[in-house]
């Protein structure tokens, strides 16, 4: 297929590099430098989408981020599918595969098309609220239907092969937009010595100058752009970011920029390269030079392919060498609209007429058009377009002076393209992101950035200044202002000379009247992407939705992926007219990040796959992996869960591991427990204040278990603390609670008791801990040390500094299993060495490695709690039956004392931790099961408590459980029932939670 709309010369494309792409399965040719949209137009592709609600054919309207229709699905393979790509912003590459997203089975032969005509009636504006929200339960069904019918694009079903990342940047001046204003600002700031970042969403810097035939210093504007960009490139502290959309402007001058690094090269990023990068910029000053979006006018059938905005027509001609039609009618409310006709005529194609809604038009561009012999029809409008898949003609009629009524007869003109300009809307999106409310300007006929608390400057089109000379000057001013604010010396930049053109005042007109009332006229679209019409907005107003935010929600205006960039102001104008108000009186419309859709990949960056969440390893991790351990996540730690042998079920493994500990000796990697080194003469006093129990008399060389409570008296952590020296303690915490406890200590020290002389240091990672436990643990330890570890010399709850396998160690004789145990701590660099020595020496005792699951069973057999499993923030030490771990004799109070003495905490019948023994010893009560007193009582049953820990105990030959029962400590021997989901009931007797070795003799041997 030939590129029938391609000019033989001109534009910024490379005609020597031909690129092949496909659209809806057909192959086409374009050139390097094309966007997908310009290549499609060059090939005469008219229909790029079917509309959301009415399934009407739609064509390309714009040339930039504001494009509402040409939103395509990209990707040559399943894994590289990308939805929501604006063809106007996608650079063409060889092999690009694209398809329309809305239009099923295809945009040209659409089975929805016929339904669409009915669908409009069936889906009135307000359908979102009226239909799909009721009944509420059906929304999920409706949603999937809507999404399919609307064809919003789809995510890939396979893993994205590309990598994305983010990078943090800092600068003095962040310039957003590299048109004339942005380039002038950046150049000024750069010459003044500032650190500058300038970002622009297009593939090259230059902004509107790339689309323009205007001369700067008598030369093409692109020459000036080239020189400026080259100079900017020479500054070490200037970063140029083309293909980078500033999508978010957040508090404290923090901006997020979405750079498409390789989207223009291929379907998937070249090896080792990043596809897209998020720049997270912290800027001292921000210059918004974001320009303006042209507004189309609202007229009957204004969505027929071939209806465009005038600036886009100029852009396609001047930048891409593409004339998107043969016979052009321009309708404009301002002088700038004439430029499209001038460019069209220069391209050698037919300008049928320029229809100017103003009764008097006399600007320089108007005169230029007249001098070229172009038919200029003033005081008139295109009231309706003919055609379905392409414009075939227009109806033109005279307007009254305010543009509210047709006053003359209708003339029909043949045309295939209608370019309209209702003026320009400053791109204030980023300014709005920071919470600034925009301000309406009657002279600009648009919203301008409102007052801001950010260190923000604006220049050019965003201020409603569309003449290049003024935009350049404003850019220079902004750059100089930034230098002043930064305390840098102001420098000057000689701006290029431009031809000053007389520009007459624009007319404030948005909605072109029709012969028929709006409700009966052919559809006049306001928001193409969500199929919102002028009639729909009028209905919304009639139904009482008067605030613009309500109108938007009623009609879905601005809810598309384009955020209503083209349509919002027109919609407000239609609402204002219907309500007989001014536009600012109907309210302002603001924007939220992001300015354009962003791939999730760019948001998540490298934080995915193996890097999604850090995995913390102990010094012995490699050994565990080699032994085939399965792992459990405890916080970020990977802890061995259990060590299955070939052919074992999980329960068989647990049984084996448990018996090994009870009968001989097991080994556990306990390195993950939090460890905090505490030094200072007031360390002991501090411990007494943060633990519920007493610490005054703990001697050097001794260890003690402690409970830590919050101010509310509820247990939040526990652990053993050893007295290493008179002023020196080592505290252990739960694995998951370590960071919180460390912070807790620091907060209390820094804010409540700064007078206490105590310092804390986290040493969790510094020590590796190998716990050997079981009747043979002493024998094993004795094989690796020359020190006396007999019961006479090394008592339960003592710690000793000895050498183990030649490595200096602190060994704590404490027990979480109820067995004789030694926790061997060595500097982590020697953790693996000592572990392997223990394994080797332990062979003769059948030393068995075990993981967290067996650890849980063993401790539950002893009734030891696990903070976080048997506590849930609502239980105090007495609820746990651990009143022995509370001392009210301490001279100074402790955290939680007052809390646990509140009336609710001391009342009768609180839920208390007890043991539960099932009537059928084989039955294991599921954790979380609720207890009732009478399972046959009428429902709802009163719940007496729940199970917090429950296991099969191979050592005891029956199941064991710990759980809460109201007043449970006084109900020993009572029976409770646990109804199951399947209707069965488990019967259990309340008992002591200490199932194994109730006298605690085994740990003392």
């Amino acid at each position: 297929m030939t590129q029938r709309n391609r000019l033989t010369s001109g534009g910024r494309i490379d005609r020597s590099t031909s690129l092949t792409f496909t659209y809806n399965g057909k192959s086409y040719q374009g050139y390097k430098g094309d966007t997908l949209a310009s290549a499609m137009l060059a090939n005469g592709i008219d229909v790029v989408a079917r509309s959301f609600k009415y399934s009407r054919p739609r064509g390309i309207v714009a040339a930039g981020a504001e494009e509402p229709n040409a939103v395509l699905q990209l990707g040559a393979t399943e894994a590289t599918q990308v939805p929501n790509v604006r063809a106007t912003q996608q650079e063409l590459f060889d092999g690009l595969v694209s398809s329309a997203t809305n239009g099923w089975p295809s945009v040209d032969t659409d089975v929805m098309g016929m339904i669409g005509k009915l669908g409009g009636k069936m889906m009135p504006p307000g359908f979102y609220y009226k239909t799909f929200m009721f009944p509420e339960s059906s929304w999920e069904t409706y949603e999937s239907m809507i999404r399919k019918a609307a064809g919003m694009g789809r995510a890939p079903r396979e893993t994205d092969p590309d990598t994305y990342d983010s990078i943090n940047q800092h600068c003095d001046v962040m310039v957003v937009g590299a048109g004339p204003a942005g380039l002038a600002a950046a150049l000024t700031a750069a010459r003044g010595g500032a650190r500058v970042i300038i970002a622009d969403e297009q593939n090259e810097l230059g902004g509107s100058l790339l689309n323009s035939v205007a001369l700067l210093d008598g030369k093409p504007a692109a020459d000036w752009v080239h020189d400026v960009v080259q100079e900017l490139g020479t500054f070490e502290d200037v970063t140029l970011l083309p293909r980078s959309t500033v999508n978010g402007y957040h508090d404290h001058n923090f901006l997020t920029i979405h750079e498409r690094q390789t989207d223009h090269l291929a379907d998937s990023a070249p090896a080792k390269m990043v596809r897209q990068r998020m720049h997270r910029v912290r800027a001292k000053w921000v210059v918004l030079a974001t320009g303006a979006h042209e507004r189309p006018l609202v007229y009957a059938n204004n969505d027929v392919p071939g209806c465009m905005i005038t600036g886009a027509v100029s852009a396609y001609i001047n930048r891409y060498g593409v004339v998107p039609g043969n016979d052009l009618v321009v309708m404009t409310t301002n002088d700038y609209g004439y430029q499209a006709a001038l460019d069209w005529a220069d391209a050698g194609r037919n300008v049928v007429a320029i229809v100017d809604t103003r009764s008097v038009a006399n600007g320089d561009r108007v005169e230029a058009a007249r001098q070229r012999g172009i038919n200029v029809i003033t005081g008139s409008a295109v009231i309706e377009v003919q055609g379905s898949k392409r414009v075939t003609g227009v109806s033109v009629a005279a307007l009254n002076s305010s543009g509210t009524q047709i006053v003359g007869s209708v003339t029909k003109l043949k045309a295939d393209t209608v370019a309209t300009s209702g003026g320009w809307s400053p791109v204030i999106h980023l300014s709005c992101h920071t919470g600034s409310r925009p301000v309406w300007s009657d002279s600009v006929v648009g919203f301008l950035p409102g007052p801001t608390v950010q260190r923000q400057l604006t220049a050019g089109g965003i201020n409603g200044q569309y003449e290049t000379a003024i935009a350049l000057q404003e850019g220079l001013d902004a750059g100089q202002q930034a230098l002043v604010k930064l305390g840098l010396a102001v420098v000057n930049v000689i701006l290029p000379k431009t031809k000053a053109l007389h520009v007459a005042a624009p007319m404030s007109l948005f909605h072109i009247p029709h012969l028929k009332p709006t409700s009966q006229a052919p559809k006049q679209f306001v928001d193409y992407q969500t199929d919102v019409t002028a009639a729909g907005i009028e209905i919304a107003c009639r139904e009482g939705f008067e605030a613009i935010e309500h109108v938007k929600r009623y009609t879905a205006m601005g809810f598309g992926t384009d955020q209503g960039k083209l349509g919002n102001i027109n919609g407000m104008a239609v609402a204002a007219k219907a309500l007989n108000k001014t536009i600012p009186e109907t309210g302002t419309t603001v924007f939220r990040p992001n300015y354009t859709p962003i791939a999730f990949g760019a948001i998540i960056g490298r934080h995915c796959g193996a890097l999604f969440e850090p995995e913390r390893y102990t010094a012995m991790h490699k050994w565990h992996v080699e032994q085939g351990a399965l792992f459990e996540d405890v916080g970020q730690w990977k802890r061995p869960w259990y060590f299955p042998k070939a052919g074992e079920t999980m329960q068989q493994t647990l049984n084996r591991e448990c018996l090994a500990v009870r009968n001989s000796v097991g080994i556990l990697d306990a390195s993950t427990l939090g460890k905090i080194d505490i030094q200072g003469k007031d360390a002991r006093e501090f411990l007494g204040r943060v633990y519920s129990n007493a610490w005054a008399k703990l001697a050097v060389g001794k260890c003690r278990y402690g409970l830590m409570c919050g101010e509310d008296g509820m247990v939040f952590d526990d652990g053993v603390t050893a007295c290493l020296g008179e002023n020196h303690f080592l505290m252990t915490t739960t694995t998951g609670g370590a960071a919180h406890v460390y912070e807790w200590l620091e907060i209390y020290h820094q804010t409540e008791w700064p007078e206490l002389e105590v310092y804390f240091n986290t040493v969790t990672d510094h020590w590796s801990t190998a716990t050997i436990t079981g009747p043979n643990s002493r024998k094993l330890l004795a094989e690796l040390t020359e020190s006396d570890v007999t019961n006479d010399d090394f008592r339960f709850m003592d710690w000793k500094q000895i050498t183990v396998a030649g490595v200096p160690a602190r060994v704590f004789r404490i027990s979480f299993t109820g067995e004789l145990s030694f926790e061997i701590n060595v500097q982590a660099n020697y953790g693996m060495y000592v572990w392997e020595k223990l394994i080797e020496a332990g062979k003769k005792y059948d030393l068995t490695p075990y993981g967290t699951e067996t650890m849980h069973i063993l401790r539950a057999e002893k009734g030891f709690i696990i903070a976080g499993q048997d506590t849930d923030g609502s239980v105090h030490p007495y609820d746990l039956g651990m009143g022995w771990c509370v001392s009210n004799q301490k001279p100074f109070s402790y955290i939680g004392k007052r809390g646990m003495n509140r009336s609710d905490c001391t009342r009768e019948n609180r839920k208390q931790l007890v043991g539960l023994k099932t009537k059928d010893p084989k039955q294991v009560i599921p954790e979380g099961s609720a207890a009732v007193l009478n399972p046959n009582a009428p429902k709802p049953l009163s719940i007496e408590g729940h199970i917090s820990s429950s296991y099969w105990s191979e050592s005891l030959g029956h199941s064991i459980a710990m759980g809460f029962i109201k007043g449970g400590l006084d109900k020993m021997g009572d029976t409770v029932y646990y109804p199951m989901a399947d209707g069965t009931v488990i019967e259990a007797e309340i008992c002591s939670p200490i199932f194994f070795d109730p006298k605690g003799e085994r740990q003392n041997v």
């Binding site: 969790t764 500097q827 660099n829």
Partner: protein, 223 residues
């Protein structure tokens, strides 16, 4: 076991803190947190050119000192023991020979010394340091990575939110900050050269992260 230098009870009582030589004799090889990554092997087998150079300074002595910077006697004592003064200005460091001190917080410093000197320096502190302070050997809990190369700053920009421009972050400056989803204490030792002190348990995550983030620059492991 060689000399344990265990304190007697009397000595312990005098300092009121437990101090021990935690390093075994030369026959026991220590394993740094990145031991399993085999940097020595990678240095030989891996890429020889690239924008990121990485080296582990393994098994150094890491001592965390917490004391009062307004206590002149303490400050003087540190200078006497180490031959280099505590950096009192936030985010700075001091270095002399094999000793370096990083400011960590208003009352906290990280002292790096050769691995075998940690105990002797700890003992000197216990003998001489007056007033309320704490000194903790944390050598097993962290390791040091030396990051250099033409793209070292880019890698840091991907990993941290800090401004690495030389005007903001000159040689000698130190920051403790979020590094990807872990933490690092980073000191600039040259225009393109940095030392990262990272925690043992996160070392493997950071190693994976650095490999991934360096992909586009090329990663050269130095032994």
């Amino acid at each position: 076991m060689s000399e344990m230098n265990n304190m007697t009870a009397a000595e312990s009582a005098a300092t009121k803190a437990a101090v021990m030589n935690q390093v075994p004799g030369p026959d026991v090889e220590g394993q740094s947190p990145l031991h399993h990554a085999d940097f020595a092997g990678l240095a030989k087998r891996g890429m020889q050119e690239g924008g990121i150079h990485l080296r582990e300074l393994a098994l150094l002595g890491h001592l965390t000192l917490r004391c009062d910077s307004s206590n002149h006697e303490q400050v003087a004592c540190v200078a006497a023991i180490l031959g280099v003064s505590l950096p009192l200005t936030p985010l700075t460091s001091a270095e002399k020979g094999a000793y370096s001190i990083r400011w960590m917080s208003p009352d906290e410093w990280l002292i790096l010394v050769p691995g075998l000197e940690a105990f002797s320096i700890e003992s000197q502190f216990r003998d001489a340091m007056p007033g309320h302070y704490s000194l903790v050997n944390s050598s097993g809990g962290s390791t040091v990575l030396m990051l250099s190369g033409d793209n070292a700053v880019e890698l840091l920009k991907k990993s941290t939110t800090v401004d690495w421009h030389l005007s903001e972050f000159p040689v000698g400056k130190v920051v403790s900050t979020l590094f990807a989803k872990s933490t690092a204490t980073i000191r600039r030792t040259g225009d393109q050269c940095f030392e990262l002190v990272i925690r043992r348990s996160f070392a493997d995550y950071i190693w994976l992260w650095i490999q991934d983030a360096s992909l586009e620059y090329g990663l050269v492991i130095k032994a």
